[in-house]
């Protein structure tokens, strides 16, 4: 092992030997497991009204029982086209009370497409209304004519009527896990990496490092590599936990189901599995970027608590402040602040980034932006570290 390899090894050791880091890793893993198993703690009670209008309890199911029933019902619809025949079948089913919502998956999709509770429409009306609603959505986003034309062309690749495919695991990950995983990851990185450089100062080891032959660039590089790898591995492990639990309970089927089955107003002509992989990829880039951000703050502020506060504070700000779309560039830039981009709403967002005549979607632009920002932060940190002195 050369010197750099040894330095990397010891940087890992320094990081993982900290009690705070170990506790943070454990807590984040437990939270991720909890997020995936929270359905087990739920209990569902069914009610119906009798002829006199009195509400009667008709039964109860545990969260697990309900999930398994839903899975069975959804699997029974596998491969069915959402067309007139299906709509009619659904209408007949809902005309009478049933303790199990056998068409829940299709029903929720149709309700979202039509925007109303009524099931009294034809397939043609349903898809016509869906396309109209898509155009309304584009206008409400203040998209330009060019952007609207871009998406309308893309939407031509979305085949109608939709064909339903069972994809509950992928849907659950996309709807319930991606944003939460991003938040957990950012918090983990804020806690674990904000001391990367500041700790050397606190422990007074910076005196020894800075006057050693390899104490400048090689140490900076080793710390940056370890931090970025930590961010990458953090994203990877959190997703592996989600995949493992969701696939165990719900199966792996449905990668190729169209995204609109889950996010009806998305103009992206991609599958649900691809959407999950896109979110996973962006989370990895966010992991690397946030790692560099936390480390550069650690270096600049020379205080791990201050660095941690900035990273977490910025993430919290994106929850509470949303810049209206009429401030186009500002609102567009703001929504790229991790972890704002990991919500399912991102699949509705039709704004495009134009570069050398090429239109790039937000989901395509985000990894490029995060990669470039990571490089910039790496360079800033390197310059700063080169000038560090003891006090």
């Amino acid at each position: 092992m050369n010197h750099f390899g040894i330095l990397v090894k010891y940087e890992w050791k320094k990081l993982l030997q900290k009690k705070l880091v170990r506790i943070a890793i454990l807590v984040v893993i437990l939270l991720q497991v909890f997020m995936n198993l929270s359905f087990l703690m739920q209990y569902y009670t069914s009610y119906r009204s009798d002829e006199d209008g009195n509400v009667i309890q008709t039964g109860g199911r545990s969260g697990y029982e309900k999930l398994m029933d839903d899975k069975e019902d959804a699997k029974a619809l596998e491969g069915r086209k959402v067309d007139d025949a299906m709509l009619e079948e659904m209408r007949q089913f809902y005309a009478e009370y049933s303790p199990r919502d056998k068409y829940a998956e299709i029903h929720s999709m149709v309700r979202a497409m039509s925007g109303e509770e009524s099931r009294d429409f034809t397939g043609e009306e349903l898809y016509g209304g869906w396309k109209d609603n898509m155009k309304t959505s584009f206008k409400s986003q203040l998209l330009s004519e060019g952007e609207m034309a871009y998406w309308e062309k893309k939407m031509e690749n979305i085949e109608t009527p939709f064909t339903y495919h069972y994809a509950m695991a992928w849907e659950t990950i996309l709807n319930n896990q991606c944003a939460g995983t991003g938040m957990l990851l950012v918090m983990l990185l804020a806690v674990c990496l904000s001391g990367m450089f500041a700790e050397e100062s606190r422990l007074k080891t910076s005196n020894l490092i800075l006057c050693a032959k390899n104490g400048k660039n090689p140490v900076y590089l080793a710390k940056a590599v370890v931090g970025m790898l930590f961010g990458f591995l953090g994203a990877f492990v959190l997703y592996v936990i989600s995949f493992a639990f969701q696939f165990y309970f719900l199966g792996t089927e449905g990668f190729h189901a169209i995204l609109q089955q889950d996010i009806v107003y998305s103009p992206y002509p991609i599958t649900i599995g691809e959407a999950v992989l896109i979110m996973f990829g962006i989370t990895v880039f966010i992991g690397v970027l946030e790692s560099m951000f936390a480390m550069v703050l650690s270096l600049g502020l020379n205080n791990n608590l201050a660095a941690m506060s900035v990273v977490v504070g910025l993430m919290m700000l994106t929850f509470f402040i949303e810049i209206p779309k009429r401030f186009r560039i500002l609102s567009w830039l703001w929504h790229f602040i991790p972890t704002g981009i990991l919500g399912t709403g991102e699949f509705y967002d039709g704004r495009l980034f134009q570069f050398l005549g090429i239109s790039i979607t937000n989901l395509g632009f985000a990894p490029i932006l995060y990669f470039v920002l990571s490089l910039v932060l790496f360079w800033v940190g390197r310059r700063k570290y080169g000038k560090v002195q003891t006090s």
Binding site: S206, L210, N214, T390
Partner: protein, 233 residues
């Protein structure tokens, strides 16, 4: 082998911590005396390249301080010796050896040799947080010697050592100084009067005495105390 210090100054706002010190150090042990706040640590940090002077220059055989070449011939034991509490003594030395650019095999041999020299063999596999103050200080001395530095800078190296260890340390330093430049700072006169061939005395950031100290000049401690009569600033 020549460490050249030319009008080195360090100023913090209006306070001058080190004031235009010029000197050339060759092989041997150079004892730097001065009361607390005299500027010894600031001066040594500048020699080690971890603190940039406000003015002046420091170089060793043509290499400017803080350059990679300069750092590769430097060994430093800071006054507040920092360590990683959860590292074992051996791990710490191997990490320091990698920082100093020692080849892996040489690093292992040198670490072993210094662990024995500093009587840390029994504790080498234990975490540093379990070490006594004296053991930690010996570990600090060991890390400073890892790369057989041409310039060895020791800031208050005997703090925490028991009398037996102090004697052993003086012997090691005296021997090391025969072939290398050793700059040893302390405010305890007895630590250097027997080992340092050259005495440097600092007061208020300035060098007020430099040169060898022979018996004909009287008692070094008396002279030292006389310079600092009136107590600390």
């Amino acid at each position: 082998m020549e460490l050249k210090i030319d009008r080195v100054t360090k100023q913090y706002g209006s306070k001058i911590a080190v004031d235009r010190i010029s000197l050339t150090l060759g092989r041997g042990v150079h004892g730097l005396l001065g009361e607390n706040g005299a500027g010894k640590t600031t001066f040594m940090r500048m020699i080690c390249g971890i603190l940039a002077p406000t003015g002046g220059s420091i170089s060793f055989d043509g290499m400017e301080a803080a350059t990679e070449g300069y750092r590769s011939v430097l060994g430093y034991l800071p006054q507040d010796f920092g360590y990683y509490p959860d590292f074992t003594g051996k791990d710490f030395l191997l990490y320091m050896a990698a920082l100093k650019g020692l080849p892996k095999r040489r690093a292992g041999e040198k670490a072993k040799e210094l662990i024995e020299m500093t009587a840390l063999k029994e504790a080498a596999g234990n975490k540093i947080k379990t070490y006594s103050g004296g053991m930690r200080q010996r570990l600090g001395i060991a890390q400073a010697l890892l790369n057989d530095p041409d310039i060895l800078v020791l800031d208050e190296p005997t703090a925490g050592l028991d009398p037996k260890e102090r004697v052993r340390f003086r012997e090691v330093i005296q021997e090391y100084g025969k072939k290398h430049i050793v700059l040893l700072s302390t405010h305890i006169v007895s630590d250097i009067e027997h080992v340092a061939g050259n005495i440097l005395m600092m007061k208020r950031g300035q060098l007020i005495y430099r040169g060898p100290w022979g018996e004909e000049k009287g008692d070094l401690e008396q002279f030292y105390l006389k310079q600092f009569e009136g107590g600390e600033e």
